[in-house]
């Protein structure tokens, strides 16, 4: 990493950017386990956290890493871990506990090609559905996907903010290309982004109820060591945290943790659009695939095809609002993903047959090339 202090332009790697963004957003606890291609995040945290009054620990595996960041958050820290596919698989059970017990934390998943050990140093976007549904049982999740190094800073900070605001785990879905890519970054102007803090109960609140009582509310969160002591469990629980099997209470709890996020899907949607005003063919993409798709839009426009790009930064909760708005003007939607069809199913659900949706998948461990997407679009237009 190098930078010019006067101009505030820095050159850095995606994983580094994610780390500096996290620290700027107040992350003061990190637990992790080494895994390619995410290890630079842990290395940064190991170097940096002891210098700023935070703490870093390398746990014995990703299961323990996830457990430790949840525990730390409960004790008042802003906590984070970073991993890749195999480690993300191991984190799923405890991630579910964080959803149910409404404990904020951030998980960075620098996606590599899978399944299993797969291709440790090659990119993929194969964890999109695992991010949504990887842990068992009904729940909601927030996941953001940056496409630039600058966004690694901004969206990591955004993950911290959203996890605190909604008291929920938030996943930053990088891929190997974004994580290891180096780009120049202009530091955001002062005051350009505000990181929220978890809602707190007042110190003298009597009858403190730490958990969601339905109606999609986000209840105030005390921390271990503060004036309110409370019970936390992975069993389905009532507003006080005690296990319950009363059908009405169980129903309220589960709908509560889903609704507090899913009902906000349109508000949480962050998009970046390129030439969508008059487009007839819409490319829908995210992460590194969206960078290539943007190049394809340029090539297609030169060839007279009215192409546009809708790049989503918010993967989950999925908002179909913008797709529905654009649908009437479109002849087709093309979804390039480095998987064999994951987020495309949400696109199909959103437009519900109004526009044909075609998927372009790539699972050979390599990034798309602009010509590949361009040619696919041209073939689709011809057919």
């Amino acid at each position: 990493m190098s930078g010019n202090n006067e101009r505030s332009i820095w050159v850095m790697q995606g994983n580094e950017a994610c780390s500096v963004g996290a620290v700027a957003a107040g992350i003061n606890f990190f637990a992790g386990y080494p895994i390619t291609p995410s290890s630079e995040v842990a290395e940064f945290m190991a170097r940096h956290l002891p210098l700023i009054g935070g703490r870093f620990i390398q746990m014995e595996d990703e299961i323990a890493s996830m457990a430790a960041i949840i525990g730390a958050s409960l004790a008042g820290a802003r906590s984070m871990t970073a991993t890749s596919g195999p480690g993300f698989s191991l984190m799923q059970e405890n991630l579910g506990l964080a959803c149910l017990a409404e404990i904020p934390c951030v998980i960075v998943n620098v996606q590599r090609a899978g399944p299993s050990t797969g291709l440790p140093t090659q990119p993929a976007q194969g964890d999109v559905m695992q991010t949504r549904w990887g842990t068992h049982g009904d729940h909601a999740i927030i996941a953001l996907a940056p496409a630039t190094v600058l966004e690694c800073i901004e969206l990591t900070a955004c993950c911290v903010s959203l996890s605190e605001q909604f008291r929920t785990p938030v996943v930053l879905l990088l891929d190997e290309v974004i994580g290891h890519m180096r780009e120049s970054v202009a530091i955001p102007a002062p005051g350009s982004y505000k990181v929220r803090s978890r809602p707190l109960p007042s110190d003298d609140e009597e009858d403190y109820r730490p958990f969601c009582g339905g109606q999609s509310d986000v209840p105030p969160m005390a921390h271990f060591g503060g004036p309110h002591r409370f019970h936390v469990t992975g069993l389905t629980h009532d507003e006080r945290g005690f296990p319950t099997m009363v059908p009405e209470e169980v129903d309220k709890k589960i709908r509560g943790i889903v609704d507090k996020i899913e009902l906000k899907a349109d508000d949480l949607a962050m998009n970046d659009e390129t030439m969508t005003d008059d487009c007839e063919v819409l490319l829908f993409a995210y992460g590194s695939s969206a960078r290539v798709a943007k190049a394809s839009v340029g090539i297609l426009r030169e060839r007279g095809v009215k192409a546009g790009l809708l790049r989503v930064k918010t993967i989950w909760p999925f908002s179909g609002k913008r797709l529905k708005e654009l649908a009437p003007q479109l002849r087709s939607i093309i979804v390039p993903e480095m998987n064999l069809g994951q987020l495309v199913t949400e696109v199909e659900r959103a437009v519900a047959g109004v526009v044909p949706v075609r998927h372009l998948g790539r699972v050979d461990g390599h990034l798309f090339e602009p010509d590949q997407i361009t040619d696919f679009v041209l073939e689709e237009m011809a057919s």
Binding site: M1, R47, A64, I70, G225, F242
Partner: protein, 302 residues
Amino acid sequence: MSQAIERARTYLKPLKKLPTVWCGGCGLGVVLSSLTRVMAEMGLDKNKTATISGIGCTGRLPTYIDTNTLHTTHGRALGFATGVKLANPELTVITAMGDGDSVAIGGNHFIHACRRNIDITAIIVNNCIYGMTGGQYSPTTPHGKRGTTAPYGNVEYEFDIVSLAAGAGATFVARTTVYHVRELDKLLERAIRHRGFSVVEVVSNCYTSYGRLNKFSGPVDMFKWMKESAVTVKQAGEMSPEELEGKFIRGIHVEKDQPEFIDVYDKLAQDLTKGPSTVNQKLRATIEGYEQLGDKLKAGIG
């Protein structure tokens, strides 16, 4: 009611109704009463204490205790406890786990917690069986004994939890049984006061799932077994290997001073921030680069 019992009662959650989920005759009630008694006698600040468990019958123990309590996933209590302690070292952190929880599914976390010497107390209630799921054999079911998944007798050999903890580097390791209640009180207090990772194995009885399958006539018969099979460290020193067959050794097995994890970490952090000359130049330049960036970023993102 004696004052000691009354004091211990104040460490039970007022909102959580008794009786407990445990079967009649279960040793876990003894552990709960001992732990609350010790907490009361030590005068632990309830708001500054976290009692953390995994899954199983022992996993339900914190639910009744009036401190901060965290009932986690199976085997992972120590991972959560490590995070809690690191984020707020002023908390007294106590974990309660069963034998399956601590040394089967949580075995890896257990040995690494021992190795790190972080200031957490691990109470391991060893009833030699998976009780909550109905009596399957565990890593501490003795060879030859029966479980519902060892219907012809256990083919495997059992873990000795004390040796495991000592070998992995725990700085306080003790064992007693739910029969030896006064010793249990004493050992729990010693373990909580110990600065570092402390392990107390409490041999307990699960008549419902283990006793009935292994020809015990009832819970009382199991208490007799604990009374007769437990020998003190001192007694064991004078016994031959043949005489020690089938016995377990109670008392303190390891007690040593070793710098505690967070103390060492914080000392290092203090040295780093106050004495930059100890860091090599290249690393120092990297850190300074980030510090400049960090200040700018904090203005943009705060």
